[in-house]
Assembly symmetry: C3
Homo-oligomer: 672 residues x 3
Amino acid sequence: MISKQLPKIWYGGDYNPEQWDKDVWDDDVRMFKLAGIDVATLNVFSWALNQPDETTYDFSGLDAHINRLYDNGIYTCLATSTGAHPAWMARKYPDVLRVDFQGRKRAFGGRHNSCPNSPTYRKYSERMADKLGERYKNHPGVLIWHVSNEYGGYCYCENCASAFREWLKKKYGSLTRLNKTWNTRFWGHTFYDWEEIVPPNALSEEGEGNVSAFQGISLDYRIFQSESLLECYKIEYNALKKHTPDVPITTNLMGTYPELDYFKWGKEMDVVSWDSYPGIDTPVSLTAMNHDLMRGLRSGQPFMLMEQTPSQQNWQPYNALKRPGVMRLWSYQAIAHGADTIMFFQLRRSIGACEKYHGAVIEHVGHEHTRVFRETAELGKELENLSDRLLDARVNAKVAIVFDWENRWAINLSSGPSVSLDYVDEVHKYYKALYDRNIPIDLIGVDDDLNQYDIVIAPVLYMVKSGYADKLKAFVKNGGTFITTYFSGIVNEHDLVTVGGYPGELRDLLGIWVEEIDALDPKHANEIVVAGDWGRLSGRYECRLLFDIIHSEGAEVLAHYGSDFYANTPVVTSNSFGNGQAIYVGSSAEQRFVTDLVASLCDQKQINPLLNTPDGVEVTERVKGDQTYLFILNHNSSPTNFQIGKKKLNLLTGQMVNGEVTIAPRDVMILK
Amino acid sequence: MISKQLPKIWYGGDYNPEQWDKDVWDDDVRMFKLAGIDVATLNVFSWALNQPDETTYDFSGLDAHINRLYDNGIYTCLATSTGAHPAWMARKYPDVLRVDFQGRKRAFGGRHNSCPNSPTYRKYSERMADKLGERYKNHPGVLIWHVSNEYGGYCYCENCASAFREWLKKKYGSLTRLNKTWNTRFWGHTFYDWEEIVPPNALSEEGEGNVSAFQGISLDYRIFQSESLLECYKIEYNALKKHTPDVPITTNLMGTYPELDYFKWGKEMDVVSWDSYPGIDTPVSLTAMNHDLMRGLRSGQPFMLMEQTPSQQNWQPYNALKRPGVMRLWSYQAIAHGADTIMFFQLRRSIGACEKYHGAVIEHVGHEHTRVFRETAELGKELENLSDRLLDARVNAKVAIVFDWENRWAINLSSGPSVSLDYVDEVHKYYKALYDRNIPIDLIGVDDDLNQYDIVIAPVLYMVKSGYADKLKAFVKNGGTFITTYFSGIVNEHDLVTVGGYPGELRDLLGIWVEEIDALDPKHANEIVVAGDWGRLSGRYECRLLFDIIHSEGAEVLAHYGSDFYANTPVVTSNSFGNGQAIYVGSSAEQRFVTDLVASLCDQKQINPLLNTPDGVEVTERVKGDQTYLFILNHNSSPTNFQIGKKKLNLLTGQMVNGEVTIAPRDVMILK
Amino acid sequence: MISKQLPKIWYGGDYNPEQWDKDVWDDDVRMFKLAGIDVATLNVFSWALNQPDETTYDFSGLDAHINRLYDNGIYTCLATSTGAHPAWMARKYPDVLRVDFQGRKRAFGGRHNSCPNSPTYRKYSERMADKLGERYKNHPGVLIWHVSNEYGGYCYCENCASAFREWLKKKYGSLTRLNKTWNTRFWGHTFYDWEEIVPPNALSEEGEGNVSAFQGISLDYRIFQSESLLECYKIEYNALKKHTPDVPITTNLMGTYPELDYFKWGKEMDVVSWDSYPGIDTPVSLTAMNHDLMRGLRSGQPFMLMEQTPSQQNWQPYNALKRPGVMRLWSYQAIAHGADTIMFFQLRRSIGACEKYHGAVIEHVGHEHTRVFRETAELGKELENLSDRLLDARVNAKVAIVFDWENRWAINLSSGPSVSLDYVDEVHKYYKALYDRNIPIDLIGVDDDLNQYDIVIAPVLYMVKSGYADKLKAFVKNGGTFITTYFSGIVNEHDLVTVGGYPGELRDLLGIWVEEIDALDPKHANEIVVAGDWGRLSGRYECRLLFDIIHSEGAEVLAHYGSDFYANTPVVTSNSFGNGQAIYVGSSAEQRFVTDLVASLCDQKQINPLLNTPDGVEVTERVKGDQTYLFILNHNSSPTNFQIGKKKLNLLTGQMVNGEVTIAPRDVMILK
């Protein structure tokens, strides 16, 4: 478990007492207790307060808050406050200010605003972590460290440019190798001196919508910036660890946030935490996928839900309230997918600045007699009752979906074949096919082992990194089922095309050659025509976007195109390879097709739903030792019925359930 | 009246003889006389011409134009020419050039382009005003001063930053107070030195669509910039006044122009003037509202229509001609709402640069045999006939609508709850409800007295400034009817939320507590369900955008929501308070609801239409001593009938009208 | 013919062997031979490779490529490599980097990126041309010079500003004349020193969508930048010509590319070449118009198709494959309109950077067994068979359409009357009317002679340059038919309005006066009502956008408006002038009207279709001596039938055709 000090599902959230006067603080504690809140995240944005100038540090306020909370049985998740630099620092040391994508030097303002390669920022953020570690290392109220906040945002300043050149020297060794890798003879971009290299932004190589003229440099710059920010995190991590080797350290991530390669980040965290902000229209399956992705960053280790809103957000175009029951439902969804904490942004609403219309446990009215508070307190009570039973329980999945940030970057940076290809959407389509059937799924990175899975799905595996084709082949040879799609196997990890016929290194595994790739405006569809039946596949399905023109080189053709000049040529194939099979879906298929295909393959592998439920009822399972916990979540706004095989105990009600069961709208069951 | 020298409705417009050769000038005068034009606005953009370098001033051309016009019976509205700085000034003193919202130093170009805190600009604009005042103080042809032109446009340069800091020091006294007011402990923005404060723009605190990370600084910057520009105006005003204490001074405003707090500006002007540029699709009620707003800037004092186009504009996407009769109709609409002048931009069309496709009295063809000229001349004749009869006549309204620029800024700057909330649209909806019923309306600022009104409407009174709640309560206690809407009473004048329950300081007045505010994409509607009838309210109406979840604390519930989880909770309430009542409309209601509600309240107060007319026939009244003038404007393109009670004289035809009357398409009656 | 060394239709394209290793080169040559490729464009982007630093030049690689190709019977189209400067140059001499429209100094990146007034760029590009000329002047494999690549892109740097001022001094002689011409008294922009003038961009006079506050300076800046880039071309041209007076020189243009006045460019080229990139939805008539425009740049001289893609592109939103047969069909379309070469971008696909998804003769698979290669090879064989028969054959047209870049710029820069007026679209509408009837058309510039034509059409001849009205009058007096449209005759070559009544200098020629110009949102239509019949005109047609309100001053009224306040006033007129007639179409008419009008006028002039064919079958003719070649192109995807009068030989099949003929889908006939 994350910490033995608090052996239950932590319940709390971001708390900014420094924005309030003393008279409010006691009332806060009173209400936290009413709500069952036992952890508060402090100090997220107090750098300027704790360090009013270059040499002065003053933690007296923070001391008082931590102590007052601890005296009332509330633990602290202690942030390092480096998510926004102080104004005095920006004025005195402008190197902390970023240069943006447009090439503009920023002025002081906002947050998550520091240049990750600023010497000043690195020096003072490390010093702050060191001071905090030193000061609170023996405080029993400090449960966990929260480094900075929601890392993100690239910088294009001169310091970054210099650091990038050093990074490139280390990566490539010589300009000859760099020139070759970036294919700089194209458009005569050969570099003869490292100093000639400038960051790729709107003034150099990149344009609207992230398209780059040189994918090589743009891809490297993303990797470099992700690592630069990670380096900032690690500097603080190390400064803290020195003082408190036993206190876990995390930083809050953001699901499929595009800028950082979170698989690299996960490796550097003691526990993954993340901030989940679905909107009213976000598919619940997408939220689930985000949870599974976050769980995947550390190979299935339970994660923290560090932030969610008790009700509305402030930064969406239309900030709907969470409907009654939804906050509880989505909280259990997080737990159902592996979360061991439920935490909010924020415990009390600000009265000024841009988050004052973001929901909070304590609303502007300032008392507990609100719907939001009541729902919070009810959940608090339930979590208390659950005690430590679910902690450390794991999800066991036989199906894995590969998610890779570098692959995603390369797809986005590509000029052609289609502007409408969205990697996350395509991944989600395959995820949803499994999710809708209540089949557990792991989201894994390309460094993860495949052996524990029966089925591995890698949608749009455009980039095949060194060694990855071999890993996939070994998996299939051993009997695994591999599914990939159109626009896969095209490039290596440097975005250089693998010549000799698409899908490149996957060609023999898939038993096909893709001769051409057609790209049409998504308003035009073609058809996937299944001749006869194949598993659950039958009849005609729509497909769009990209259309691979495929020659089978041994693969069985499961379906043909229905129209256009490649009508009657293969669109879906299955290749026997060793003891397994490798499936190729040559176009962006509609959900119904993906659902039928994936279900057919699960049938073959005898991977069955945890439970058969109607639409909108999600089922997951967490396992701890020999105990399994079945989560049943009704996302419908009406009561829904389904069958349960064996008699089970509903942990939330203490009642046994059996046979035909009715679940109330937005209700949750945890069955043992 | 504006000036005793010309005791009639002034008729004329902007005139740029300096763009033409001498041979044209005499022909201009000939045609001005044909058109009944008696005032020409000169010198609007002649700074570079009058001051070819730093030390040389040459007014010989201007002398000649003023004299020639005066010799022909045409007065001059004399502009100070400071709406665009000369190119030599921009080159020699770059401090006159603005830094824009993107942080870019502008180069020479455009107009309304000077930094309002530029020492150079202030020095030379004052000197120019002084020179003009000195030179023309005894000229009998100079009717009025026209300072600069259409002030507007913010600057973000270093001079503005310094001036802003000084302004903040004066406003807040200490950084402690400033930090508190801006809530800078949010995101760790605490300032320890005034120099750390930078203007809020795209490089610091503000983003797309005007949303700010810190509303406090952004709101102050708007107030500061509005005042900085006003200070430029006042510098010139004072320089002129010194020479000509009896010549009125104005500057031309722009209706609901978003950047300037015109209520502050109105106080500094001898007479308000404004430029009215409705497009072919602009609702006529919106034009009317703009007129009433301009009249409201100086508490009902008649204003000048300084600019309108005789026919088309050039800067709209599609610049339609004014249809036959429309120029006359809209001219009388201005008069009907309180204008004592009708003036055009422009008297003769330019042949080069960006306004050459803007309409003019004298078109490019250069003669008077055009539709536009004929219509101009016919109106000129009518205005001559009207003589001084309407001058100084007032509009008497029993209903006032509150309009507040700072409230509007705060709404626009807000991050959440909805991007689609448009303050002007919401105000216009309530305005239109009255306008369509031919009920006179005053648009008033928050400093204006309420005692003269029976009904006061403050749509989306988000910001309640210090003392304003008390003013409203006194008004209602005394028997007044007050109407406000959703998202009101939320913040104080610093955009800090009033804690303790929405609608904050208005809570007891309205007898409600708003627990939550739902925000939905405007494509989703809820319903306002009126149980039984209430006045003219009956049945179901649509509402959108924001949905306050209301608890009555004594207020009568007039209507409930029809759907969603707050179905059957209050949406419209009425609270008895002292001798009056306070109405709350908890969502953005469709026009039909607002119309029925406002009509019901007018019925209660026995505020009746000036006349009952069919759709599209507007009626207003101006009163002078014991004489009332009824304006009837047919905006329809077909003849329309209605009843007139008593026999009246139509001033425009000299005929008596009575009983059933037919008004021709786009025709106007002024009945005495 | 372009060069006697290769007396056939050249076949080949861009080739970048420097991006590949040696082992690929021999295979390339093998496949080039298989495909019938006889010309390769080398060295387009090899500046950095050939000149690794300021003093070192190394052409050894280029030598080898030229020699290897020549040894295998393949000629070289030799580019000068100056389309992108080397990275070392950008670092050492930042004056080569542009300042963009936003005023931002660019960093190294992209291509077509050099400031055209950079002393460094001019010095080193001249030196490169000189070196290449010197080195390859006696090489028998070098067929033609290809200067730089796709010139374009404006710069706004200080060097350009200085050069612009010098250019203006030369053009205007005095500031007095410049101020007058730019009408700078408008908005007080009078310049008293040349140094006060700054380039018009987003920081000074220009805004979104190219609208300018001062058309005068903006128009001059476009002329200046077009000439600056042309000057760069000429510097290289002269450096090459000195060494190889007999080798033709070209640079590749881009059809209706907006930034350069190609009629001026054509005069400086030995042969025009261009890059044709229609998308899957581009009307085939628009492609045809582009070919005719390119042919028109040098008065009908055959041109080179320098680039087209064998299949897909990479820079469109959706990069569709060329359907089977389409590459061949469009290749012959180029020849049918005057091309004497068929060349591709590119011969072998890159594996890295932004054009790796652009089609190529040799795809990533690296062998010849692809659809694209097969189609290429089949066409190669046909072109070999055609030998020199078509070379130098001319198109004889009796109808000309005037196209003028400066007119286009002035229309785009205009503020008002409508943002939706698109010059190219309007020209294309008239072009299509003739194209659809298989009537040959010349696209001509305003310097071209009109005497060879029976009909001259100048859609939206907004700008009438000095002397052009007289030229048109002489043409009509001599019996010619002239057609022009709404918004014509408005300004002179400086964008100054011709006063005295629209259409200005064309007023007597057209026999009309346009009193007003209405502009409506294109969603609103009016009608063109033809009273009785006039030629093929009959009944009602739609018109939109602009609506001239016309008084006939002698012209016959062919049609009236159907609605609005100018219903029943003239919209289409015909004026007898000398022996000819001048037609005016006062609004943007639907295609059907234009088609019927133009057909009627052709009937009058007895200009008959080359052949009557069903929709989608294009017919053109090229004439060489007394031999005529009829091109028949079936753009339909189904077989199509039509009648041929006399028996003819199909050069592509060697068969005679006669009477009723069927042409296969996307097939081509060349009949002698």
